[in-house]
Symmetry: C2
Subunit: 351 residues, 2 copies
Amino acid sequence: MLLQRYAHNPVLTPADVPPSRDGYEVIGVFNAGAVRAGDEFILLLRVAERPVQDDPGRIRIPLWDTAAGPPVAGELVLSLDDPGLDASDPRGVRYKGRDYLTSVSHLRVARSRDGYRFTVDPEPALLPSAPYEAYGLEDPRITPLGGGEYGVTYVAVSSWGIVTALATTRNFVRFERKGVIFHPENKNCVLFPNPSENGWLALHRPDAGGLGDKTIWLSESPDGVHWGRHRPVMGLRPGMWDSVRIGAGAPPIRTDEGWLEIYHGVDDEGTYHLGAALLDLNDPGRVLARSAEPILSPAEPYETDGFFGNVVFTCGLAEAGDGRILVYYGCADERMAVAEGRIDDILARLR
Amino acid sequence: MLLQRYAHNPVLTPADVPPSRDGYEVIGVFNAGAVRAGDEFILLLRVAERPVQDDPGRIRIPLWDTAAGPPVAGELVLSLDDPGLDASDPRGVRYKGRDYLTSVSHLRVARSRDGYRFTVDPEPALLPSAPYEAYGLEDPRITPLGGGEYGVTYVAVSSWGIVTALATTRNFVRFERKGVIFHPENKNCVLFPNPSENGWLALHRPDAGGLGDKTIWLSESPDGVHWGRHRPVMGLRPGMWDSVRIGAGAPPIRTDEGWLEIYHGVDDEGTYHLGAALLDLNDPGRVLARSAEPILSPAEPYETDGFFGNVVFTCGLAEAGDGRILVYYGCADERMAVAEGRIDDILARLR
């Protein structure tokens, strides 16, 4: 594998993160956005939590009211023998024709000097507050926009569907929401760094409900808020590690040879791998190369076992000097790990 | 019913439309965009055609090559006893893990002086030519943009998915493509008329693959090409005529009481009805009223029977003077009909 795991993985587990409120428990800290800002490594963690499940005959589902005024954390308590309840999927339930998630995620900042040992903020950075966030905020990506500003694209979930939303920040303390930038269903959005007067670019993963596969698209924007000229970039590769679905992972890195994109792919067995692609610098809709083999696949117990096993999933990396990158990745939808690689090695494999 | 059918419906059937090429047959003319331009009523027809099916043991599927250079009409001929073929849906087949449509639609202009008797152009107006149109162009809507220009939003289909694309025209002869404005999966997009310096507005219907219903969303754009601030406007109403899925129909009409939108709804039995909604003039994301009952439901044989029965589906209407509207609608995915109503009567029912 082209990425070398940190010897003391995982770097963060649910036990490291206090819940946002009394009576809640954190069940996952994973799929963090990452950036190196000044002398700090910053992670924006996805923290999944739920009411403490204290009755074996019932399920307690977190349910935020974001419709009006300050958001209020509530819950829905359902009897497990209610005939209207389908609780066969650990991630969500269907009750009387409506979908709910069994946990709600918020975003939380963690900071580090060395890139390996992180201190988690005691309070959330972004909690559900817009109506489109009622079921939570997930899988953030951080991209430098220039001038000390950062763009955070994240998955927002509500009963209306799964969308990509944008927020901006200068300090990872205060965030400004810019609304939904990609309508349902959309995930895995990464902004290209430092948009110029020529405009913004993003990779993202629409979900074709009726026809078509889960593939990676490229879109353009004059301002980061309004997007168009959507076009497909990368499809599935039958029989390979990215045969069933793919999605952009970390925001692209500019190299002399092209935009280096580390993306995830799911194979026929349902295993999530990480691999790499190289996009043309001047026309990022043109794919120059894709890695024939994954650069990281689930193998360690903290990757193969957990809330949703056999998943390595990146939302961000940090450049660590001398051409090294630290790729942060969620493991089994439950914990955070890091692996190190060299840009040159990955490019060589793509040649 | 608030809409009165024209006595001589249907106004157009497949027999009225010549195919685009030798060896093809037209199997549907339906879901036309409509506008009154000067002293003409203009329809932009969806024309579905396919290779003539001349062998009962095989299915001939139209397949355009739009990848490079001028588009070329080809076809895929499959044996009906091929074990890799699933031909159980009349609208599409699945073959070796890939979806195809059994017909490909193009857009064709028809013109009328009285709004009832139409002359169909001998040649297509818009044939598949962009990669995102390889499986056809469907369900166009026409909106006046001001200054003699019209915007045409249409569904474009390819193996990459189902999207909404935009073209503009001044004469319904030459069209300029503006690309994909809503990524997969998206249908039923209508532009609000005469966008101002404050920007463009559209209603559209994203398709939530994993979570959420098929509902109507509102989006904003500075230029018609790039769209953002997506937000849900209208959901489903369990037990009513619009309980299963909804989508915008004709572009909204400005009235003193609000934006009048005629939309389609599907009920628990799978029947497609037309109904009306009233949106706030200043904040079209605010729904003032929705019709408790449909304003048109399938009842006549030309609506209940056909390629896909029990469907009335509008993509456009024309104002016919004195507060009258002519609502053009596709019947059973096969033919075109028209029904007349009065704006005041519909508004009264919504009060």
